[in-house]
């Protein structure tokens, strides 16, 4: 019981075969209700096609848009190893914020590229943003191999072109798989027509990935709220890394006050420890923390700071103007901020530098910049602790950018 599950986001340039591949994954893993499968087979036959899986997905898509029932199994498929949750991300440029929303929830990604058309604008942008967002497990499906005579050299050309955009993702956890989603080659079963390829199929590659586990780094506990109960004040929050026990000494940031954990609390239970990833509560001596504070272990505590080097992607039609007032949000911290300096401004689909020392940033662009917050905040480098190394920027009511913390000065 309690089977493992993994969330994967499927991205790629429009028409490169995302829907067909999703349909194929459901079909070949037997995750479709039998009635639906028979219906698709019958229709395809009547239309004189091979079983057309893109039609299946388009049909589901339409159902979704119209608000009509689709069956439970259809956003989930199973292999012998685990359950998969599919996050379908739109391929159009104007839906980039939806793609980013999807990718930020995923533990692994599947990037679809058309072998004939090759790498296109959204392929490059998606590849780059996946690595920027910190996704470390990726399958690149070079699709429609049937249209390029299953050519190995064409496959190499496409994968080499992509490599530059995937620099952030370790090659050890990247699989490049030649497939035909329409025919099912190398999706669930190995293809006879691709004998030169010795790597895993799509499903085998996915099954090798690991769920993203909360970190076993030093204790970090952003405070969500203080709940007075039975004469004590429970400090509620989620453990972003590390563990905590009664008796542990902690530091409250940004104030720097030292405190001792007097109890670990759960409703109707008496736990002795809070684990990484757990939403829980503790009581502490002396200090009175508030929402937005961070409780941390004494060894190597982070520094509360007001200047943050970051890489940011802009997601608003209205461009950024340097120094305009924004809000910085990271964990439960929320403080006024502004962009003090834009070192480099990049086109996210080509990675070419548009501008150095820029004073603006437009929709879909990426920048290496310096943030200045109105009050000290506690962050970590994204590579060290993603939970404390990623943030959003708000303008008024709206999230206009996402970002990650790059190298912090000691």
């Amino acid at each position: 019981m309690n089977r493992e599950s993994l969330r994967i986001v499927i991205v790629g340039h429009v028409d490169h075969g995302k829907s067909t591949l999703i349909g194929r994954l459901f079909y070949d893993t037997g995750s479709l209700p039998p009635e639906k499968m028979r219906e698709i087979e019958r229709i395809s036959e009547d239309l004189g096609h091979d079983t057309e899986l893109a039609f299946l997905m388009d049909h589901l898509q339409e159902e979704r848009d119209q608000g009509i029932t689709i069956d439970t199994a259809q956003t989930f498929f199973k292999t012998a190893t685990r359950d998969y949750v599919i996050i379908d991300a739109p391929g159009h440029r104007q839906f980039l914020k939806n793609m980013i929303t999807g990718a930020s929830q995923a533990e692994a990604a599947l990037l679809v590229v058309d072998a004939e058309e090759g790498v296109r604008e959204q392929t490059r942008r998606h590849a780059y943003l996946l690595s920027l967002l910190g996704l470390r497990q990726l399958v690149v499906a070079v699709n429609k191999m049937d249209t390029v005579e299953f050519s190995e050299s064409r496959f190499r050309e496409v994968t080499e072109e992509l490599a530059a955009f995937l620099s952030g993702i370790a090659s050890a956890s990247t699989y490049m798989v030649p497939i035909s989603a329409r025919r099912g080659d190398n999706v669930a079963r190995r293809s006879q027509d691709l004998p030169w390829y010795e790597g895993p199929t799509i499903l085998e590659a996915l099954d090798r990935f690991q769920p993203v586990e909360p970190q076993l780094r030093p204790f970090r506990f952003p405070v969500q709220g203080i709940y007075p109960r039975d004469g004590t004040e429970i400090v509620a929050g989620r453990v972003e890394s590390g563990m905590v026990r009664s008796g542990d000494e902690l530091l409250v940031l940004p104030s720097g006050v030292r405190t001792t954990v007097t109890g670990v609390h759960e409703f109707l239970a008496t736990p002795t420890v809070l684990e990484p990833g757990q939403s829980g509560g503790i009581t502490v001596s002396i200090a009175k923390p508030a929402r937005g504070d961070m409780l941390v272990a004494l060894e190597n505590p982070p520094t509360a700071r007001t200047s943050i080097p970051a890489t940011v992607f802009w997601m608003s039609r209205q461009p950024l103007s340097l120094t305009e007032p924004l809000t910085f949000r990271c964990t439960t911290q929320e403080v006024p901020c502004r962009v003090a300096r834009i070192r480099r401004r990049l086109d996210s689909s080509t990675l070419t530098v548009i501008d150095e020392d820029a004073d603006t940033l437009a929709d879909t662009e990426v920048a290496e910049l310096e943030l200045e917050t109105g009050r000290p905040v506690v962050v970590e480098e994204h590579a060290f602790l993603p939970e404390l190394g990623r943030f959003v920027l708000e303008r008024g009511y709206d999230v206009v950018a996402g970002g990650i913390v790059t190298s912090l000065p000691a």
Partner: protein, 267 residues
């Protein structure tokens, strides 16, 4: 951490974020398994004292077992229960056979909620919907804005990155907050099993039938099943391929297959 604990932790995080951001907050309790599970999580999130009102939208057509269950646990759990009814429509005889099912749902549920929201001046409401339950819900966000007309602009939703949820709403809008969005029907039951959460008896099979989803008496049909306990239901769901809401009449509008077939040249 195991999967159920991780799912619970995420839900509790969202519930606490909602409470921190919106002083004028309430939770909707349909008496079904999902919202009852969510109430349970709220009790865990806030150490037994749910710090906001619990709303039940009563159409007057619910099962007697549901009213009994509601009143029993409202008392046992010390809930601040508020019952919303569109009294005018009920007095006017609204029912599923009066107009269409759609108008009945709109009047007795949506409009009852609208009236209540306006009266209580709420900024946000917590709902127990899940992504796997219904197609359109696959596109939902955790914090989802609705305008004055309750419209959901699902083609132009705000981005929602990591655990940063929309914090404020513009005048006239309110936010719907969905702490169970990431859970599946099976996970809900596994969680009910693990936590021993009390659930309405209507879900358990009697005479070869049980309800998989609860609504109003006239529009809600039981499915064939012999699952008479939580353990049985967990076993049943691990193998079934029948959709959860297959017993819900308002979902039975399956005209699109033919439309699509015709477009493709099918007779």
């Amino acid at each position: 951490m195991d999967r159920l604990s991780a799912q619970e932790s995420k839900s509790i995080y969202i519930i606490r974020e909602a409470y921190a951001r919106f002083p004028k907050l309430a939770i909707l309790w349909s008496i079904g398994k999902d919202s009852t599970t969510m109430l349970w999580m709220c009790r865990k999130a806030f150490y037994g004292e749910i710090p906001f009102p619990v709303i039940h939208i009563d159409t007057g057509y619910k099962f007697p077992e549901m009213y009994e269950f509601r009143d029993r646990y409202a008392k046992e759990w010390g809930l601040n229960l508020i019952i919303g009814r569109n009294e005018e429509a009920i007095a006017g005889g609204m029912g599923p056979t009066v107009g269409t099912k759609l108008t009945c749902c709109t009047e007795l549920k949506t409009n009852a909620l609208k009236q209540l929201l306006a009266g209580m001046d709420l900024q946000a409401i917590i709902l127990g919907i899940r992504r796997d339950e219904h197609g359109i819900r696959a596109k939902e966000r955790y914090f989802s804005p609705r305008d004055e007309q309750f419209q959901w602009d699902y083609k132009n939703q705000p981005p929602e990155l990591w655990d940063q949820y929309k914090s404020t709403s513009e005048d006239g809008t309110h936010l719907r907050i969905h702490p169970l969005l990431h859970m599946t029907e099976l996970e809900i039951w596994e969680y009910v099993q693990r936590e021993r959460i009390p659930i309405s008896p209507l879900y358990f099979a009697r005479n070869g039938k049980r309800f998989r989803s609860l609504g109003c008496v006239p529009c809600c049909a039981p499915v064939d099943s012999t699952a008479a306990t939580v353990d049985d239901i967990v076993t049943e769901l691990r193998t079934t391929k029948v959709a959860e809401r297959s017993g819900r009449a308002q979902d039975k509008e399956d005209a699109y297959t033919m439309q699509k077939l015709r477009a493709l040249g099918y007779m």
